[in-house]
Point group: C2
Chain length 335, copies 2
């Protein structure tokens, strides 16, 4: 069966619409079908003549300064709502937006709805661990204030992703904390632990970031505020660490030689470290594949998010998460 | 005036007492006077014969698995309490411990008391920013659940440190968040903003980690849970980033050349990135200079924390923070 196009919000993101159109054109040239959504007068002229890149018109935009939920509710013809509606109407396989996370979530909820049994969808990403394994982290910013039951649901969704989609036999689930001993954790973490222990998943307790990145668990659960701060700290540190190391290597008398050696290495380093965060994160728990790209995404990062969305759609991510979650959480299957 | 010795808790830390004694001996050889506190039978035999390193006996230890506040209250002869008592009795200039942060805080509060007007002392560190400036961050783990008034007090203490001790003319204070626009932040951050705005300091609002590390503010305020997770994420990333870059550089055919170039660079990189986190963080808001070393500190990191404590004592850190904070918060000067 041929998959429908990836529906792409052309107006969302710091570098929209230029970088979005550029990324979409790249994906199309690689054979991934794309349907752009945005203001025809603005986006139309940016589309290269040599690619098939259809455009659905949307007359409004949700700005970064606006309250996402209010703006999305009011602006029924905003690019993100038109894009989410297109997906809900079966006009595409998946959705990509680099716009405000809150707006993407609100539009997905209004137009597509959530998986039965799920109270709060969560932004989810997968990052490489130092031991070669992979780490599923959620939530990364969709829910800044979470109750224990929300964290419990994140755990179930993350567990399904790791086990059923990534093929990890027995993914261990942990909650992000400032230590592992009893008595560590803030009030929120401590009150979530009994809920996590009651879930039908292998929950191993609290974990520090260091231990999680080194292989202590496969699924890391946190609220969206802490998760977002952690992700952004990691991103900033990757950049700073690269800069410091470069300085130190070039300090040697043989600096020119060093610079020559570093050119390719730094390109590959950026690629490896960027893939996870920049490639896009999935909004799990809604009825459809939704990838939230990085606000600062450039053309290549947009193309990467589109590829990811296409791949996840081909693997029927949303349906599989939906069935497994509904099963675990006791609701009926959404299908 | 000659400063008294730095009082060092020989029993606190993952590598205690061996690494603590080693670090103390290093500091003494450099001319910094030290008074060790710990179990004579265990610590005594570890002290090198060629250094003057007096030891005060403490028969008990607060273990990592214990509830810090309960253990500290009960164990009046624990090394951390004996050390804090020695400082309170004027037998030393400052205190260093690499033990459980909560235990250090509890011991300092019981034996030394807090600065007048301060409700909650805060763990504070200074890290280098990418633009060459410095960033004061607090709290890093002493208070995992904070009310708005606590965050307001952290802001005042951090501001005093930056302005009066570090000599920054107009330090900008910001609160750590997941974005800068109105509507960002979790409930805690949003409710703290009016309190921070009411303080007599230049408060500039919410800030993301990336912008803070790049020079967006001089003082970064957060609760101890988020701050601790952020600090540990940064530490883990520094390590991972170094590993990845090394791999990429050594992937070239000229790998041997690369390895040769990297030897010194990586040593200097580790030194630069380690200094802030490993060198130790100050517990601000108690009546005395208290440096909390990293739990994993080795001999060099312990020596570095002792040097820092000695320097801060010589600059009268505690008195100056005390007067300025009491002034700002409206209490009387503690002196």
């Amino acid at each position: 069966m041929t998959l429908g196009p990836v529906v792409v919000d052309a107006m969302g993101g710091d570098r929209a619409p230029a970088a979005i159109v550029e990324g979409a054109a790249r994906a199309v040239r690689e054979g991934v079908p794309v349907l752009l959504v945005g203001d025809e007068a603005i986006v139309g002229p940016l589309i290269p003549k040599d690619v098939v890149l259809p455009l659905a018109h949307a007359s409004e935009v949700v700005g970064m300064g606006e309250s996402p939920s209010t703006a999305v509710r009011r602006k029924t013809d905003s690019s993100i709502r038109v894009a989410a509606r297109a997906l809900a109407e079966g006009k595409g396989s998946s959705l990509v937006s680099c716009g405000n996370t809150g707006a993407v979530m609100a539009a997905a909820l209004v137009e597509m709805g959530r998986v039965q049994g799920v109270i709060r969808p969560a932004i989810t990403t997968v990052v490489p661990r130092t031991d070669g394994g992979q780490l599923v982290i959620l939530d990364l910013g969709a829910n800044v204030d979470c109750k224990p039951v929300h964290l419990g649901q994140f755990a179930v969704m993350g567990h399904v992703l790791a086990r059923d989609l990534m093929g990890i036999a027995e993914p261990r689930v942990a909650i992000l904390s400032n230590g592992e001993e009893d008595g560590k954790g803030n009030e929120q973490v401590r009150s979530a632990i009994p809920v996590l222990e009651s879930m039908p998943i292998p929950f191993i307790g609290q974990i520090e970031p260091t231990d999680a990145f080194h292989g202590g668990c496969e699924v890391l659960v946190c609220d969206g505020f802490v998760g977002n701060v952690m992700l952004k700290s990691v991103e900033a540190t990757v950049e700073i660490a690269g800069k410091l190391l470069k300085e130190e290597i070039l300090r040697r008398p043989s600096a020119k030689l060093g610079a020559w050696l570093l050119t390719g290495a730094f390109r590959r380093y950026r690629k490896r470290t960027a893939s996870a965060a920049i490639g896009g994160a999935h909004l799990l728990g809604v009825n459809g594949v939704v990838v939230v790209g990085h606000g600062r995404a450039d053309g290549e990062a947009v193309a990467s998010a589109i590829r990811q969305a296409h791949l996840s759609a081909s693997e029927r991510l949303a349906e599989r998460i939906g069935s497994a979650v509904s099963e675990t959480l006791g609701g009926d299957s959404p299908e």
